[in-house]
Assembly symmetry: C2
């Protein structure tokens, strides 16, 4: 574990050394480490709660909102859940060593493209202390060393969680330095972490737009943003309207504070008169504040609809709030989505194969849904077991970042004295 006297660059260099060993370990050692971490967390619950209590106390004194305090709070049940998460990751297949592709070249060389760890992954995150263990378990299982950098508000909790995990990992045979936590809080430290070219192979920020902006300007190591989602549901002319209503309600209401929740409803003008009154009443009854364009407000006059302004189309509310617009056709819906969406998850409800195909082909997003809720974008739902976040970038990984996505590959080429002519 990190100590106060080690610099960011020392910790990253130690992580790099550890990563050389981690890359060679079989799944059995890594799985034992993850199970050891889970056991230790449960055994040392009192210690974790004590540290968490100090963070909560400081948070209350600093006037954190009840929502933020709740995200920060741990209890024995939550610690059990964190430990279970690590055990579930241990039970997943090891991505390292998977042969992705391979062939014998015409000259007889045997080429295999084999999945290998990235090396050192840095994860920068806010508030929730469970990320400390989730991210560590995913990185260690995929054979990577991890450097964590949490927020100041969870500093005590994160420090104890990381110390327990690092101890248990070392006890199970992982190399020292494989898991490190850096202080947290100051921007200079973040800049230092994001410029460790040669030791840090990837940095993943999990957090809001402020964190993203802070990193964009300074990072010299590759960054994958586990970013925000401005997601849409488009109800096509041919949609089954009962299905459409269920999907819209689910996408907006089931868990509004997450990145795969929908933020904007788009409705084809031909079905707007039939669909909007019932759908907006249902959304309103579920507590959703609605920001509607002129055409939608002209159809639904018996609800307190706000006037949608330009910013509404670009806003990720992350709350019981939704923008609503009427569009001329599927092409207009696609244009709206590509202009305002963040490339996360986009849904069309339709019974028309041509509309479905156009939406799938032309919408530029990580996940494109036909007749299903945007809420399914999730490593667990997709059968990847777990995720460290969802990427809205296009390089390396799009959508859920699971174990395979924390890997790179190398080509292994075997010959019998082959030289190039």
């Amino acid at each position: 574990m990190s100590t106060a006297t080690q610099t960011v660059s020392d910790l990253c260099a130690a992580a790099k050394r550890a990563s050389r060993v981690l890359a060679t370990l079989g799944a059995d050692v890594k799985n034992r480490a993850l199970e050891g971490i889970a056991d230790a967390l449960v055994q040392r619950t009192a210690e974790i709660l004590e540290a968490n209590g100090r963070d909560l106390q400081a948070g209350r004194e600093a006037g954190l909102s009840p929502a933020l305090l709740d995200r920060l709070a741990l209890d024995p049940r939550r610690i059990e859940a964190i430990a279970d998460g690590a055990r579930r990751i241990a039970a997943l297949p090891d991505p390292v060593g998977e042969v992705i592709d391979g062939s014998r070249l015409p000259n007889g060389l045997d080429v295999r493209k084999v999945r290998v760890p990235l090396g050192v992954v840095a994860v920068v995150y806010e508030a929730r202390p469970n990320v400390t263990i989730d991210a560590a378990a995913l990185c260690l299982k995929s054979g990577n060393a991890i450097v964590l950098r949490g927020s100041r508000s969870a500093a005590h909790s994160n420090a104890v969680l990381a110390a327990i995990a690092a101890e248990a990992a070392t006890a199970a045979g992982l190399p020292a330095g494989a898991l490190a936590l850096i202080g947290g809080g100051d921007r200079e430290e973040l800049r230092e972490l994001a410029t460790q070219s040669g030791t840090v192979d990837l940095i993943i920020p999990r957090g809001g737009e402020g964190l993203k902006a802070a990193l964009k300007g300074v990072a010299t190591v590759p960054v994958i943003f586990a970013a925000s989602g401005n997601c849409h549901v488009y109800v096509d002319r041919s949609a089954d309207l009962a299905m459409a209503q269920d999907i819209v309600i689910n996408a907006k209401v089931q868990r509004p504070g997450v990145c795969n929740a929908a933020e904007t409803l788009l409705v084809h003008r031909d079905v707007a008169p039939a669909f909007l009154p019932r759908a907006l009443h249902a959304l309103h009854d579920a507590g959703v504040t609605l920001h509607a364009d002129d055409r939608a407000r002209a159809i639904v006059s018996d609800l307190p609809l706000r006037v949608a302004v330009a910013e509404d189309w670009d806003t990720e509310y992350l709350a019981l709030e939704m923008a609503v617009a009427v569009v001329d056709d599927v092409d207009a819906a696609i244009s709206h989505v590509n202009r305002h969406g963040s490339g996360h998850s986009e849904a069309i409800v339709t019974s028309d194969t041509a509309a479905a195909r156009a939406f799938e082909l032309e919408v530029d997003a990580a996940c494109v849904y036909v007749n299903a809720s945007t809420r399914f974008t999730d490593g667990g739902e997709f059968g990847m077991g777990a995720e460290i976040g969802n990427s809205t970038q296009k390089v390396h990984v799009r959508g859920p970042i699971g174990l395979r996505e924390l890997c790179t590959f190398k080509y292994l080429v075997e010959g019998a004295g082959h030289i190039r002519a």
Copy 2:
């Protein structure tokens, strides 16, 4: 094509709009465009040579070296070769639409992970004007719009090549704006290109360390460095020494100016007395200047060996020059490679399966060779048809950057009204 009055940001925005259309085109349209480009280049050879003549004239006046002037020079045969390159790319399978993975989830949702274009790819390159067409053909075939930024020294040649290609592409049905060239030369323009977040999806610099450094500091869009190679050949204790000598000579001498050529020879101490005299004499006879460590110089005293200094181990000579060291064992060789290598191509010559396995497992590089020359790292050799360079990064792509590597993917998820519980 670009005109002098369009800004970098205008060109990138137009490329983004074009990329929406490109992503929906079938292979037939894209292939016709590439064949049209090839035909137009040959037909308009005189025009190209006239522009190239102006660059050569300016280059001679500026005192460019004969080697640089040769890289810059075009002639009818070279133009034919560039056109043939575009035709060969047209003949490759279309990567767009390939289903990479897919399954039916337990809840009945059908998920397909489908290869799609990245969108807008920017390629920044030096000297050789053929890159204008090679890069354009690879990007257009993979459904991407391309923004090219060549060097000032090839400005006239690049402008004519890009104009001819853009015209032919549009004539064949590709959207306007799909291929653009920006002026070239000034660093401010490069900074502008590298910060077009939201329009440029990837920037690929093809060039030396200066270009890399210039981009690292400023880029906010994802960058894949088609970078340098500090490659090693390690001759193990158990190596077939005749095979080892052939591989070393091939890796160093066959084409010394390229990134997959070897720069350092490492030899196990037990075979150094038998191997080094013959190998170093053969290298010397081939015109190679040798920088040897103390142990190697103690063995070979009848050659004018230079004293290897610390920088030699980190130098990519790109010339008939090689560093030579004696190491204690395969572990020492692996450590040396991981400390000094650039993660490009690394070879072991051995007849010992344990040594081969350790080298493959522990060497952190894009391509690891057993009993073969490093010179095979190449998109063409690997059966990928063509490449835009070789990546030594670990995210997104490692090794040859071919058509598939110029793509991302999206998840297409189809349901029947599925909502999340």
